[in-house]
Symmetry: C7
Amino acid sequence: MSGNTLKMLSEYLDTSVLVKLKGGRSLKGTLKSYDQHLNLILKDAEELDSEGNSRPVGTVLIRGDNVVMMSPAK
Amino acid sequence: MSGNTLKMLSEYLDTSVLVKLKGGRSLKGTLKSYDQHLNLILKDAEELDSEGNSRPVGTVLIRGDNVVMMSPAK
Amino acid sequence: MSGNTLKMLSEYLDTSVLVKLKGGRSLKGTLKSYDQHLNLILKDAEELDSEGNSRPVGTVLIRGDNVVMMSPAK
Amino acid sequence: MSGNTLKMLSEYLDTSVLVKLKGGRSLKGTLKSYDQHLNLILKDAEELDSEGNSRPVGTVLIRGDNVVMMSPAK
Amino acid sequence: MSGNTLKMLSEYLDTSVLVKLKGGRSLKGTLKSYDQHLNLILKDAEELDSEGNSRPVGTVLIRGDNVVMMSPAK
Amino acid sequence: MSGNTLKMLSEYLDTSVLVKLKGGRSLKGTLKSYDQHLNLILKDAEELDSEGNSRPVGTVLIRGDNVVMMSPAK
Amino acid sequence: MSGNTLKMLSEYLDTSVLVKLKGGRSLKGTLKSYDQHLNLILKDAEELDSEGNSRPVGTVLIRGDNVVMMSPAK
């Protein structure tokens, strides 16, 4: 991440995001922290498997190399 | 990315692009930001699965290492 | 890991954490050490396979590139 | 890429090349740009799947880590 | 590996360890050497496949990127 | 590649080599160029699939991270 | 590879070693060269597939990232 991309990423802070991981898992939660590798910390997160089932996981740290993409949660 | 490649990439800014990801997923949207790792931000994006089904995802950040290729959306 | 992310990570020290690894394995134990690659040392750890079976492994060092995510153990 | 390899690569510029990607996909087009990571831009490109079916994709940017090999198109 | 993690790792030297590798293989032996990439040398090692069968391999050098985790052998 | 390894590699220049790639493909041709990442250029190359079928590909550039091993062609 | 590990590795030079590769292939031969990435050159090598079949390959250069482990050949 650099320049414009990091700036746009900062607008996601403290908002609810949906993070898709390699292998089909997704996480939904409030973005509390990120860095240039896209290591993320989500608060009040819930894990969604590929069948759509949800499970609360609390505060979770995600290693950036597992992330496919991140978008606002609706 | 470097030199000529980054320059040609800049011509895609604010145009509609099709991004193919590893694993068969594609995303279509307006390119708002990129960096040298090919981390991308697409606006008004929609996700296309390998069967061609479309789903709106809004503004989405894609981690560059998932990208296979990017071309103008037709 | 950098800045804010490392700071929040330090709050997990000496608490019980759940670490999910690539390939479906999980480990639960007390976080004793970490570094910026997310190499971890867990004490009194137990390994959980994808079917939920548990097996004690004592003190275990995990190579960071296997980590998907880490959250507080409940 | 370095030294001799980059020099020989420059001879492919503005000629028609065949690029094989990891996972069985190939692309054929005119090489317009490359860098030391083998990030490529092809013009008037067409995508060939593993069954040999062709589909035009226009100007396409390929992320270098997906490339297996590149040769002159016949 | 860095700081605290390397220090705790040094306590494993000359003790019997169990090393789990990507792909289901494990090795058990006396840890004689390690470095910051977790490249390891085990002495009097035996290889254990995923079915639990054991086979002596003598002194073995393991490339660090294959390591999932390491714990004391019991 | 470094030191002795690069020196031994230089002895393969302008000789016929067999290159095995990840995923079961092999290439046979005259080694015209290499660098420290094992990016290779082969001339008068032919591609061999895992069933042993051969297909001429002319001059081919191979991205080094796909290479498993290289030996003299017999 | 660094320090002690490289030193122990040097003791394998000009001896017969068994190298296990990712994907189940093994090579047996006399170690003639290595570097810090574990790029290896074996002389009078033979390739062993996962069924135990052997095939002579002469002098072979192995790209280090394919290596799982190396031990003395018995």
